[in-house]
């Protein structure tokens, strides 16, 4: 390691530029540490104390001079210093000196002053502050998307009451997905604009429905999130009801889709009653409920997310909905062939999900056909995993659950944990099929399929060394217009030998068939 320094006499650059130069230097491979500071006596002392400077900076210098010091590998530091010099001697950026600079908004009120036409505030702060920020936004006449979680139930109720008083909407708390006037907010996909509006108490549920609608060639008017607790008794479905009414009034919306895990009974009743009063078709998908009776002719009950999307697409075309059915893509490797490769000991499905609703939907479907399924978010507490890191029999894991995301990023952003789990599942001789979801869109990993494919290949190779084959089944929730690109992601997974389906429900059914050794049925 060597240290070099250079003094620039009477060179004044604003603090932002100095920070940028320091950061750019420190980021260079081979540079251990670097600093761009004014050459005051105090800073010379500090640099010596930190070990960045040995002795003096060399030559004459004073407080009005700029000093750059770099410590790193010998063949890197001189060029790093030269680059820093050229950065500094470029014309200064728009920011002015160390005095006042253009003021970036630091509060909702300041932001509204800069953007007086805004009608929505997206709030993502630590939970203990989020409610206060949401209250401020509502008092300023803004609708709210509350991305933050860890907001108390009491605060959620109070905020939604305040919103109702002001004829505004609160999406959230813990609302991670919305598409408002075509703008994807949070973890959302790039979808066509169109005539189908959706309100969902589930982020990935909303993503699945909007992506399937896009895939069918139709589009989305608005996609509103309610937060996961909205349909609890205490909250009363406040946001879902508000969203339903808003879409009923929206001239661009012709068909409405509602999505949630099982709501509280009274809340479900109230929502269905209101849906029945709306003069537009409403498709209701309350996953896991046993609703059979349609409250009105124009209210359609869907059992899965893909059914909900298919129903909405049919209705917007003026057709009667019919179930999506088993939509395994015909040109995938034959499931019969995969079944034939399995040993008799290989009986189990292991689902590793990044989307909580996908895990839940798969639990519902697999439980019907395969019997008990273990999970960290089980349908029945009897089948809670005793060790989250160890699967038992049929197991579906929601890797986005708090237990796995404490201190680390969500698996949609950082797939490391899932990729490791895929390889470790291959050690279990009882595993027949590994079931996966892949979620694209804004906020998700740049190229999730690449890393996933690598883990799948590693797992397959590991099992093969023990003389076993493993089937991999997945669905990709995304669109061609998403930053990651649906086609490229699906291609990468196909090359890794994954059976791909259009929807999460179809993937779950395909996995169940493989484990149960049922012949594939094409529709």
């Amino acid at each position: 390691m060597v240290k070099v320094s250079k003094v620039f006499h009477n060179l004044y650059r604003d603090s932002v530029s100095l920070m940028q130069v320091s950061a750019a230097l420190a980021d260079r491979p081979g540079v251990a540490q670097a600093s761009a500071v004014m050459a005051s006596a105090s800073n010379i002392d500090l640099l010596r104390e930190s070990g960045l400077l040995d002795g003096d900076a060399g030559g004459e210098h004073g407080a009005s001079d700029l000093l750059i010091v770099v410590e790193g590998e010998a063949d890197v530091v001189e060029s790093a210093l030269a680059d820093a010099e050229s950065l500094l001697t470029r014309e200064s950026q728009a920011h002015s000196g160390s005095g006042p600079t253009p003021i970036a908004p630091r509060s909702i009120e300041m932001g509204l002053h800069e953007l007086p036409g805004a009608n929505l505030a997206l709030i993502s702060t630590p939970g203990e502050y989020a409610a206060a920020e949401a209250r401020k936004a509502l008092n300023l006449g803004l609708n709210v998307m509350l991305f933050s979680d860890n907001v108390t139930l009491a605060d959620e109720i109070a905020l939604k009451r305040l919103a109702a008083d002001r004829d505004l909407m609160v999406m959230g708390p813990d609302c991670g997905t919305a598409i408002v006037d075509g703008a994807p907010l949070g973890f959302a996909n790039v979808v066509r604009r169109g005539a189908i509006g959706a309100v969902a108490a589930s982020g990935t549920g909303l993503q699945q429905v909007t992506c399937l609608i896009d895939r069918s060639g139709k589009g989305i008017s608005q996609a509103l999130g309610t937060g996961g607790r909205d349909l609890k008794t205490e909250v009363g479905g406040a946001t879902m009801l508000r969203g339903l009414q808003a879409l009923a009034r929206d001239p661009a919306t012709e068909v409405i889709v509602l999505v949630s895990k099982p709501p509280a009974e009274q809340v479900a009743t109230r929502i269905l009653e209101q849906a029945a009063d709306i003069p537009k078709p409403v498709v209701v998908n309350f996953l896991g409920t046993a609703l059979q009776d349609r409250p009105a002719e124009a209210v359609y009950l869907a059992q899965t997310l893909e059914d909900a999307a298919a129903a909405a697409v049919a209705l917007v075309d003026g057709d009667e909905p019919r179930p999506a059915g088993d939509s395994v893509t015909p040109n995938e490797p034959a499931i019969d062939t995969l079944i034939a490769e399995l040993a008799s000991t290989q009986r189990y499905v292991r689902g590793l999900f990044t989307g909580g609703t996908f895990c839940y939907e798969a639990l519902l479907l697999l439980s019907k056909t395969l019997g008990p399924v273990y999970s960290n978010t089980p349908l029945d507490a009897k089948y809670a995993l005793s060790d989250l890191w160890r699967s038992e029999a049929h197991t579906l894991v929601d890797l986005g659950d708090d237990a796995f995301t404490r201190g680390r990023a969500h698996p949609m952003i950082d797939p490391t944990l899932r990729n490791e789990r895929i390889v470790s599942e291959a050690d279990d001789p009882g595993v027949a099929v590994i079931l996966l979801d892949l979620v694209l869109g804004h906020g998700a990993h740049d190229d999730p399929a690449e890393q996933l494919a690598a883990s799948i290949n590693a797992a397959r190779d590991k099992a093969a060394r023990d003389g076993r084959a493993i089937a991999f089944v997945a669905s990709v929730c995304g669109t061609g217009a998403d930053p990651q690109g649906l086609e490229g992601q699906e291609s990468a997974l196909r090359e890794a030998g994954v059976v791909l389906t259009v929807s999460n429900a179809a993937a779950a059914r395909a996995a169940a068939r493989i484990a149960a050794r049922e012949k594939q049925v094409y529709t």
Binding site: N10, S15, S40, S64, H95, S96, M110
Partner: protein, 282 residues
């Protein structure tokens, strides 16, 4: 010839007759070294006032650094400053004169509304604080802490030592230690009230800051010198007033936001100094 007019001028801004040269120039501001000593600053319209500056009616897109160069000469006669080489004239006369009145305040954190305003500012600062780490050189916590510890106990020698160790210290064009000192002086001035011992201590400390200011660059030195005379930039002064008067939370928050937004990190350091000083004398 491009003509600009001053919208407002700081209380310590020369407006009548002076000569000088451009010391440093940026997109939306420029500093001028006066031949008779001292510095003044010309600011674009969107900024708050500074004691030694003038806010000008700059049109959108106007950039000082496209018009002026370091070393350009300027002469002011009858309230009109002319940069002959650049073809720029700035009319300084007739503008509203701005000044802060921190001496009239008397922060009392024993009053619930004042304490609430202080705490809210602290909270906003914590939520908005930018990362000071720049290539491993931070303003050491010990140096930051030494000043309020010494001032709280009215220990003159320790305070003087703490001041000297802060001047010119830390990252930024106006080093973090200087910004902290400016904020600290504002906080003390807003808290001294009618207490004779505090007034005396503040006078002594201000003299120390003025004397130590030669240890930093000219731009930062100007702010330190004005602060030692009780003159502060508008965002910081406004925040001090909001806290001292215990105004409504939304006004405190807006004022805190404006003060924190100054510079890249200068605002945060200044607010930190302000709060620290108010706390150590309450």
């Amino acid at each position: 010839m491009t003509s600009l007019h001053a919208l407002s001028t700081g209380s310590r801004m020369a407006t009548g007759h002076f000569t000088g040269s451009v010391h440093s120039v940026f997109g939306r501001a420029c500093n001028i070294t006066l031949d008779g000593g001292g510095m003044l600053t010309l600011l674009a319209a969107e900024f708050g006032n500074v004691p030694h500056g003038a806010r000008l009616d700059t049109p959108p897109g106007f950039a000082f650094d496209r018009v002026l160069c370091t070393g350009d000469r300027v002469g002011c006669r009858g309230g009109v400053a002319r940069f002959a080489k650049a073809g720029l004239e700035v009319c300084l006369s007739g503008a509203r004169r701005w000044h802060a009145e921190l001496d009239q305040l008397a922060v009392d954190l024993g009053l619930p509304r004042v304490a609430a305003a202080w705490q809210l500012t602290q909270l906003v600062m914590e939520l908005n604080a930018r990362d000071h780490a720049q290539g491993g050189l931070n303003l050491p916590h010990a140096r930051r802490k030494a000043l309020p510890d010494a001032v709280g106990a009215l220990r003159s020698h320790a305070s003087r030592t703490a001041v000297v160790r802060l001047v010119g210290c830390g990252p930024g064009l106006t080093p973090a230690g200087d910004d902290l000192l400016v904020g600290f002086l504002a906080g003390l001035r807003a808290s001294a009230g009618n207490c004779a011992s505090r007034q005396a201590f503040l006078a002594e400390l201000s003299a120390t800051v003025r004397g130590a200011a030669t240890g930093t660059n000219a731009i930062s030195r100007a702010y330190l010198e004005h602060a030692s005379d009780g003159a502060f930039a508008e965002p910081l002064a406004n925040l001090a007033r909001c806290i001292a008067e215990g105004v409504e939370a939304r006004h405190v928050e807006a004022a805190a936001g404006m003060a924190l937004a100054v510079g890249a990190t200068s605002g945060t350091d200044g607010v930190r100094g302000l709060l620290s000083a108010m706390a150590c004398w309450n």
